[in-house]
């Protein structure tokens, strides 16, 4: 049986599982559609949150993102996990106690203002829509790569699969499919990682293997008994690359980490997952479980990245960097397979029949080229996603493991897309239709509105996936920056400051929204239209790139909100009582009936 057929079978089985869950977990009420009836076990919710959180980017790209830069990009590991500490201590338990269905609903009630609620809906939609575009195109790419269907067909299939379980089951269907998707993706990710770690270091736990010594019998003139990271540093500097473990700019690294952490804590599709557990104490535990399941992948990813990078170098330099490079006809089979997809590409520039891989962009690399008669780096295409995608083949694992990676990549994209679509559709049906436009709508009517909003959101997401706006690369920065600058401060002040009033919160949210958009637009172009940027990267304010702006936008939000709230009247007594009640766990179960 060929690999594509096997991929179809494994992916098809995973879809059958999701559909089975969808039929079993149909939503019968708005409480089930928005919050899975608040009956989700905290461990199960933790697992669903992990799948909700880890996108196609975490699954396919993150290991490469770290491996190609080394230490500096550890900020993604810390940024995308450290936010859970903030969420667990500053937001999740209190919002669960509040006991409603959406993030804008808390903003609207706490700040006794439909204006605040609508501003929050706008922030939520901008954040979630930009985020979902990446997921849909990620799903399309995953289909294209593994099942050899074209990208657009892949997108339609992804949209159709999400449609079935999200429209039918709402949060309830999404929760239990996310649990299944988590299992698929974590198995797919860890099996090849364990085998590679065993081959290179003899340690079955990749996170420990990363700090272990090299095994006997590794190719590439690698000395046994030397630490893996020392070996990698040595190979990379020989070839003119930066040292793997070196620091570049610690202050910017800290600022970007902070931006990702605050942004993570303020992402609505993650926050609403904590509305599904029965009690406040469960929300606290559940955040811990979520991080356990996330950490299983995030502790493995840096090891996968470093080990795969080492493997590629020793494949290219089987006798070590001082010996002969690999002859073209000796390239392994997996290399040729991936060359067909265009993710790897070679060109024998100096015509010696061998493929020399080095960094032609550095002085050390050029010296290396001169000494060895090279005329340029001959591994001309080296897509960083290859580090995860080709892992099973590098480790000589059987075809079904490769098929699992296919199912895992698709599961990661679908689970995140579904969570985002629920956040969008519930903000539309619950916050705009039910609360602002038609407060008299019946329970049945609202459930129907929720299903229609979900269907509409999926159609829009598929459309945007097919015709991605020109700013695809910047959207993640926008989503995290905006979540950090708008929703996080507003939610936090709503809980921790009794004095914060509606004028302050609205002014703060707008200050965060406008300052962040302005900073992004000035440097990246108005609405990301290329060429309309008014300043370039040499003119960054204090050297801060737009991707790092989140914490500064948040500071604007906090500062403006504080000043405006002190200049205006304090919130009414019943709002102060509401804050008092949100702070205390007792009585959370009662909210179930609403």
């Amino acid at each position: 049986m060929d690999q594509t057929t096997l991929n179809f079978i494994v992916v098809g089985l995973s879809f059958a599982l999701y559909f089975g869950i969808a039929i079993w977990a149909r939503a019968g009420s708005t409480a089930e559609f928005y919050a899975a009836g608040r009956g989700v076990n905290p461990v199960v919710n933790g697992m669903a949150t992990a799948a909700d959180w880890m996108s196609a980017a975490s699954f396919i790209s993150m290991a490469g993102l770290i491996a190609f830069v080394g230490y500096n990009n550890s900020l993604f590991l810390m940024g995308w996990t450290g936010g859970y500490v903030l969420m667990a201590m500053l937001l999740a338990p209190y919002l669960r106690k509040f006991g409603k269905y959406t993030v804008p609903e808390f903003v609207g009630d706490r700040y006794y203002s439909n204006t605040a609620r609508v501003v929050a809906v706008i922030c939520l939609i901008v954040i979630s829509v930009t985020y979902v575009i990446g997921q849909m195109s990620g799903a399309g790419v995953a289909f294209a790569r593994f099942l050899e269907v074209d990208r657009d067909t892949g997108l339609y299939i992804a949209g159709a699969v999400v449609f079935v379980y999200a429209v039918l089951g709402g949060m309830k269907g999404i929760t239990y499919t996310q649990v299944a998707q988590y299992c698929v993706l974590i198995i797919a990710y860890t099996i090849p990682a364990i085998f590679i770690s065993l081959q290179l270091t003899g340690n079955p736990i990749p996170g420990l293997g990363l700090f272990s010594s090299m095994n006997e019998g590794v190719a590439g003139g690698v000395e046994a008994g030397v630490p893996l990271l020392t070996t990698l540093d040595g190979l990379l500097t020989d070839l003119g690359f930066n040292e793997y473990t070196a620091t570049t700019n610690p202050w910017l690294m800290a600022l970007y980490t902070l931006s990702l952490m605050i942004g993570t804590a303020g992402l609505p599709h993650v926050i609403i997952r904590f509305f599904t557990v029965p009690k406040v104490a469960d929300a606290r535990w559940s955040a811990g479980w979520a991080l356990v399941f996330i950490a299983l992948l995030y502790l493995t990813a840096p090891a996968v990245g470093a080990m795969a990078r080492l493997n590629i170098i020793t494949t290219m330099w089987p006798e070590g960097t001082q010996g002969e490079a690999v002859a073209q006809e000796d390239l392994p089979d997996w290399f040729n397979t991936w060359e067909v997809t265009g993710l790897l590409g070679t060109e024998d520039l100096n015509g010696d029949g061998r493929i020399q891989y080095y960094n032609e962009g550095s002085a050390e690399g050029q010296a290396f080229a001169e000494a060895n008669g090279l005329e340029g780096n001959e591994l001309v295409t080296f897509n960083r996603d290859i580090l995860v995608l080709a892992n099973p083949e590098i480790a000589n694992l059987p075809g079904w493991v490769i098929a699992l990676i296919a199912a895992g990549g698709i599961a990661a994209a679908l689970s995140t897309a579904a969570g985002l679509l629920l956040a969008i559709s519930s903000a539309i049906s619950h916050d705009l239709i039910k609360s602002v436009m038609n407060p008299g709508i019946s329970e049945k009517g609202e459930l129907l509105a929720a299903r229609i909003s979900m269907a509409g959101a999926i159609v829009v997401a598929v459309y945007l996936g097919l015709n991605p706006p020109g700013f695809a690369a910047q959207v993640v920065a926008l989503a995290f920056g905006l979540a950090a600058a708008t929703l996080f401060p507003t939610l936090m002040m709503g809980i921790f400051s009794k004095r914060m009033n509606s004028a302050g919160a609205i002014a703060g949210m707008l200050a965060g929204l406008i300052s962040t958009c302005l900073y992004l637009f000035l440097y990246l172009g108005w609405f990301f239209v290329p060429g309309t940027n008014m300043l370039d990267s040499s003119q960054y304010l204090f050297g801060i790139p737009p991707t790092h702006f989140g914490p500064i936008g948040a500071l604007f939000n906090f500062g403006v909100a504080f000043l405006v709230s002190r200049a205006t009247a304090e919130p009414p007594q019943e709002i102060q009582d509401l804050v008092e009640s949100v702070r205390i766990p007792r009585g959370a179960g009662g909210a179930l009936a609403k």
Binding site: M78, V85, S212, P250, A254, G288, L299, I584
Partner: protein, 82 residues
């Protein structure tokens, strides 16, 4: 009301302690204070690198479970548990 105030300040104290450790493990040891602990070697590199790629995440995990455990106890002590 004063019982609630005592509960809330116990919560704030716990959150502050946890966030100091949170910042120390990530912004501190893994990034800004990395040069200070560069003398401590871990598997071919320094302790700061280990904190950046493994240690900080393990500390985050510990902190959330510690917070949940302590906080649930504080709830019971102040009679505001569910």
């Amino acid at each position: 009301m004063s019982e609630n105030n005592a509960y809330w300040s116990a919560n704030l104290r716990l959150v502050t302690i946890c966030l100091v450790i949170w910042a120390l493990a990530s912004y501190g040891f893994a990034i800004l204070l990395r040069p200070l602990i560069s003398g401590i070697e871990v598997g071919g590199t320094d302790l700061g690198f280990w904190f950046a790629q493994q240690g900080s995440i393990l500390v985050f995990l510990f902190l959330i479970f510690f917070y949940a455990w302590r906080m649930n106890k504080i709830d019971r002590d102040h009679g505001v548990d569910e």
